[in-house]
């Protein structure tokens, strides 16, 4: 394949994926809003574009799938078919198939998917729907001209919303979202109205060029028309941005070195006028560099919508598989986060949503009995708080049953009776994050296998973030994920042990202490320290890192510095020789080093050009205490 062709194909893949990402939530919106011409047109057009481009490039399977679902879309758009869940299901299936085909294309694995069953399914779904709707009053083909003064409005029983309007050459369909097709019996109401009035009644008239609307007045432009994406956007290869990012990181390092050097000159030659000039220049460079770094980081920021947009569909599928009616509301989807966060946040969010829908929300009957509306609510709220991004997932379900959690944890042997008794309600909510924990007696399709929530915790801590759970009985549960805006730079505490420096990520550090060596006790071979009446295990950093610790302390001060790490409700201390201070460090990846066994998650380069390792405290706690062990 020539380079040019490859480029065209990769562009096609990107565009097609974007189109699919964009239209998928529209289906769910469509189901909720009822038949909305603009939405239908939008979806239809995107599907058509994909089909066209795929045809041009010779991807026949994609064309077949797109064509078959487009057929249905066309009928829906032209109002020849009412919206039905079965149709939605097959169209969504075809979108999944298109995605799969694109994935194969992208990875160039040459795997051919057999699309014929799906195409057949799409065809038969269309035929079924067509045969059902034949004879139904609302699907009058607009072949025969009707007297313009005698308009026929077909309204649906549910709330009397306009379901279809037959004007000469035009059929509108607006259906209330209704999961059960058998309820879609419609009642025909005949009204005589002036044509202008009708045009007003139809809340969202389609753009005139898309159909042959013959109403005397030109339909006004839809107010809901999507604003045209600004043409000021530039599509740039991510590698180029990463390169700029790397270079910016290097400039930061050089700046740090320059700062060191200029401080040295300032001390030594403070009477030389050039020193002052140097200091000024360097401090200007310092400011510009910080700004540049921020600007470059912003390039990588993307709205979290990229992840959240798949959830309406996901919730729709999940809720129908457990027979619950769930409404998902998303706030703050424009909040921008680093690309790396976008890539890693999807799975944890999916697990939490699944948990909320399956465990959190009650069935409709239960909800009614409790005096709640039958429809369950799940809200995703995203906002920025300082340098952190906060994602809250709340449901208005039954809340966590603390006693049940404790009982289950003991039954499964995850905790002892003793431990459970000592737990506060707050820490007990952490039980759900324990590996192997599940309250469901039977594993359902959705959940109950005891994997999932621990994955949430692990993934979030990989992002240097943390999870909080708050719950209230019968009022609901809220999961709060706090993640730093970017993964490229972290706040770290610099420490020194046996003459070498290490960086410890700041987020899991609870406090630092200076203790006298006599306070360190040894219980059955394990060093411990008592902090405010609580016993906390203590580990020597140079032992953890195997840096040639000889068992004797070189530091004779009689004091030790402790870094207290909190992982969930477990705490441990790391003893170091010196605390140097807090620093913002740029994380450099470590290619070629087995980071899993070395207790480091990356490295950074300090102002003097030395490499300093960033410690992986999450990994350490897993090794030391078995927290979050799989």
């Amino acid at each position: 394949m020539s380079d040019e062709m490859e480029e065209i194909i990769s562009e096609f893949i990107t565009e097609a994926e974007e189109s699919l990402d964009r239209i998928e939530p529209l289906f769910v919106e469509l189901e909720q809003k009822g038949e909305d011409k603009d939405l239908l047109n939008d979806i239809f057009r995107s599907m058509h574009t994909i089909k066209g481009a795929a045809g041009f490039l010779g991807f026949q399977t994609m064309v077949d799938v797109a064509h078959a679902s487009e057929n249905i879309m066309k009928k829906l758009r032209d109002g020849e078919l009412p919206l039905a869940k079965q149709l939605m299901d097959v169209i969504l299936k075809s979108i999944d198939m298109l995605r799969l085909l694109l994935t194969h294309l992208k990875s160039k694995d040459g795997i051919e998917e057999d699309v014929s069953p799906l195409v057949k399914e799409l065809g038969s779904a269309l035929n079924n729907a067509m045969s059902k709707s034949v004879g139904a009053p609302q699907t009058t083909q607009a072949a025969e001209p009707v007297e313009p003064s005698a308009q026929e409005i077909t309204s649906q029983q549910t709330g009397g919303s306009i379901q279809s309007v037959n004007t000469p050459g035009l059929t509108f369909n607006t259906t209330e979202r209704d999961a059960d097709v058998s309820h879609q019996k419609t009642q025909t109401v005949s009204v005589t109205e002036s044509p202008e009035h009708i045009a007003e009644d139809i809340n969202q008239p389609p753009p005139p060029e898309e159909n042959n609307l013959k109403a005397p007045e030109q339909a006004p432009k839809s107010p809901q028309q999507r604003p045209k994406e600004s043409a000021q956007n530039l599509r740039v290869d991510i590698e180029r941005i990463d390169k700029v990012m790397d270079l910016a990181g290097e400039v930061v390092l050089v700046r740090n070195r320059l700062l060191n050097i200029s401080n040295y000159f300032d001390l030594r030659y403070s009477d030389d006028p050039m020193t002052e000039t140097l200091m000024e220049t360097v401090s200007f460079l310092d400011r510009v560099t910080s700004e540049m770094q921020l600007a470059v980081m912003k390039i990588r920021m993307q709205p979290i919508k990229k992840v959240l947009s798949k959830f309406p569909r996901l919730v729709r599928d999940m809720s129908s598989s457990v027979n619950k009616d769930v409404e998902l509301t998303i706030y703050g989807e424009g909040t921008e986060v680093d690309k790396s966060v976008i890539e890693h946040i999807g799975d944890p969010l999916t697990h939490i949503l699944r948990n909320s829908i399956d465990h959190g929300l009650e069935s409709a009957e239960e909800r009614i009995a409790k005096g709640k509306p039958p429809k369950g609510n799940v809200v995703i709220n995203t906002y920025q708080k300082g340098t952190q991004i906060v994602i809250e997932i709340s449901d208005d379900g039954k809340g966590l049953d603390i006693e049940k959690l404790k009982k289950k944890a003991v039954e499964k042997g995850l905790l002892t009776e003793e431990e459970v008794k000592r737990m506060s309600d707050e820490t007990a909510t952490e039980i759900i994050f324990m590996p192997g924990f599940s309250t469901k007696e039977v594993a359902t399709q959705l959940s109950g296998r005891g994997v999932g929530m621990d994955v949430v915790k692990t993934n979030i801590s990989l992002l240097n973030g943390y999870v909080e759970v708050s719950t209230e009985k019968d009022a609901g549960t809220t999961f709060k994920l706090c993640i730093p805006l970017t993964l490229a730079i972290i706040q770290a505490l610099m420490v020194e042990v046996s003459g070498s420096k290490y960086a410890i990520p700041l987020s899991p550090i609870e406090e630092t202490l200076k203790v006298s060596k006599q306070d360190i006790k040894n219980i059955t071979g394990q060093n411990v320290i008592v902090i405010r009446d609580k016993i906390c295990p203590l580990f020597e950093l140079n032992q953890l890192l195997d840096t040639g610790f000889n068992g004797h302390d070189d530091n004779d001060s009689g004091h030790k510095y402790l870094v207290v790490i909190a992982m969930g409700d477990k705490k441990f201390c790391i003893a170091v020789d010196k605390l140097i201070g807090q620093e913002e460090v740029v994380i450099k990846s470590l290619d070629g080093i087995d980071t899993a066994s070395s207790n480091v998650l990356g490295a950074t380069i300090t102002g003097d050009g030395k490499v300093v390792f960033i410690l992986d405290v999450t990994g350490m706690s897993r090794n030391l205490l078995g927290v979050g062990k799989n």
Partner: protein, 155 residues
């Protein structure tokens, strides 16, 4: 040994190698793998790593692992000195450094004088030997750098 067979099949092809000394022996690596040769700078030790991983260095803002070939081949340890060098190589997209006693020269070797490695006791690291170049006055051990690196670091 596949590479060697291919090389000899081409006939009088001339290969270029960077030669270096290690424990007074002459070794060589394919010049195409070599990115640059540096003096030994500050090396930061990697926690909990095998002994032959000397540590990591800062190569113009990139953190790259450095392997001590002496330790890898179980030779006597020798502190690095003035002649010690780090050969920076890129293998499978990952940049690594190798610490050697000294770097000698770039050598052009006709493929016809390269012989497959004789069977040796395996603990001598013979798995990493691609072949032996029989020069007029000496033997040069050609290192299979792909195998050495992939058997050493995590790819």
């Amino acid at each position: 040994m596949k590479a060697t067979m291919e090389d000899s099949a081409v006939g009088e092809e001339v290969l270029q190698f960077v030669t270096f000394t290690l424990n007074k022996e002459q070794y060589a690596v394919d010049i195409l793998n070599v990115q640059e040769i540096n003096r030994v700078t500050d090396i930061t030790r990697v926690p909990n790593s095998p002994a032959y991983v000397e540590g990591v260095i800062n190569l113009r803002g990139k953190v790259i692992p450095v392997i001590n070939l002496r330790k890898k081949f179980s030779f006597d340890e020798n502190p690095t000195n003035e002649t010690s060098r780090i050969i920076i190589m890129e293998i499978n997209g990952i940049t690594n450094g190798l610490i050697v006693d000294s770097v000698s020269e770039v050598l052009r070797v006709p493929s016809s004088i390269i012989e497959p490695a004789p069977p040796m006791s395996s603990d001598l690291g013979s798995t990493y030997i691609k072949g032996i170049a029989k020069m007029e006055d000496r033997l040069i051990i050609l290192i299979d750098i792909d195998k050495l690196i992939s058997g050493t670091v995590q790819l």
